[in-house]
Symmetry: C2
Subunit: 254 residues, 2 copies
């Protein structure tokens, strides 16, 4: 039995998120079906990040176990011929049997894009949020910087969050504009449910001048979701990358 | 009666091109319906460029005549609320009654994008052609430069072209790569049916090394479509802009 790690990109627009569920088609379900067709035997993946309905990915990670002797690097090419055009595997590689994609030590990077111009652009509607009004990027950047470090992010999580450890570490935030597209990137060791989207909703209020940048500090301190902005729409959010620093440094991957 | 000029952007993926026709839904048809709903009276547009099935636009141009007293600049905002999300008007302005969008003196710019990497990217599939193999950009650039100037472009036109004047002037070509996306821009006073797509198909053969850059000269000289490359897929082509230099310089628009 071999364990194969897949790096998966998708346009999440038409999917009810990553994880298999009864109420709609999910990315994982389509991937499992394609793998089952390719390998001729029922195959199931374990995913790293359960992205939400409408959220995209350039580098979500999944693993599966197989008896197939197909060269690991060829699986990506073969599998893509069984997938719809809104899902494309970017890489396939063999890993040791104890590699699990939800390792505790992951480093995830998300990007949220805001198209900031007078009119929407049909060709960039897939993976950005449209916003016509002025936004003060410098203030948004200051707000974002307060997120860096280790904090209890309960105030930035969906209120129907189950009881769990809500401490996370944000390693880096970046916010910049290229022509009319604002990019916000955030890297951390994990994210609570809806956390990036609530952060973006809050940064937008800061950009509009409705909140001061220090509102971020207040939310972290009071852990009160009602002080934060609305949950920004899923369409602007993309899971860029998941890294496994310990595993990447191990001999296996050398 | 006032004449209104619209600048229209669309994702052409789902449309049978611009012009109203019996066999499928077109951009112009949807635009006419939205205008008719907005203004409460049957309204028809005249378009500048009859883009083909699957071709996109950031700046196609259309005009219509109306008795409405709605401020011209507001029409774009109002009209967009009646349009599907793959069509968005970018500008609306009043023009004189003799302004016709198919003036002889137009300057059109098209862009063709080629996503050049190992695997397709679902988030950039709307408006680019995917190609995995190596392409020699320097050779493609040399081939493109031979197109500049006034030539008979019959060899770069679809062979079921009706008898007409096939001389056109290309003012400029540009070809560059940004990360894994190749951009090809071409500006001219007009383009024959499928001309940009046949040019791109030819440049791709040059990039692959199957034709020398001088093949472009040979096609121009012999006016022989069979010497050129295949017609590149519509999905990569976007009409960026249509300019009207004489009209723009006139007092009306001053």
């Amino acid at each position: 039995m071999r364990r194969i790690k897949l790096t998966v990109a998708y346009d999440g627009t038409q999917y009810c998120g990553w994880q298999v569920q009864p109420n709609g088609i999910t990315v994982q379900e389509v991937l499992n079906k394609a793998l089952t067709e390719l390998l001729g035997v029922q195959t199931r993946t374990i995913g790293a990040s359960r992205t939400d309905t409408g959220v995209h990915a350039r580098g979500n990670v999944a693993v599966f176990d197989t008896e197939s002797r197909m060269p690991a690097s060829r699986i990506a090419f073969a599998l893509n011929t069984y997938l719809p055009e809104d899902i494309r595997v970017q890489k396939s590689q063999e890993v040791s049997a104890d590699f699990h994609p939800r390792f505790t030590s992951t480093v995830k990077t998300y990007e949220y894009k805001i198209l900031n111009r007078t009119f929407p652009d049909p060709l960039r509607r897939l993976d950005s949020l449209f916003w016509y009004g002025p936004l003060d990027l410098e203030k948004m950047r200051r707000g974002a910087e307060y997120l860096e470090g280790t904090h209890d992010f309960r105030g930035f999580a969906s209120s129907h969050l189950s009881a769990e450890n809500t401490e996370r570490t944000i390693y880096e935030t970046k916010l910049w504009k290229e022509e009319d597209m604002i990019h916000f990137r955030i890297t951390g060791n994990g994210f609570l449910y809806n956390m990036v989207r609530i952060i973006v909703g809050t940064l937008m209020e800061i950009g509009k001048g409705d909140y001061p940048p220090e509102r971020v500090l207040e939310i972290l301190e009071k852990k009160d979701r009602s002080l934060a902005g609305a949950t920004a729409r899923a369409c602007g959010l993309t899971l860029l990358e998941i890294r496994y620093p310990e595993w990447e440094n191990s001999a296996e991957n050398g």
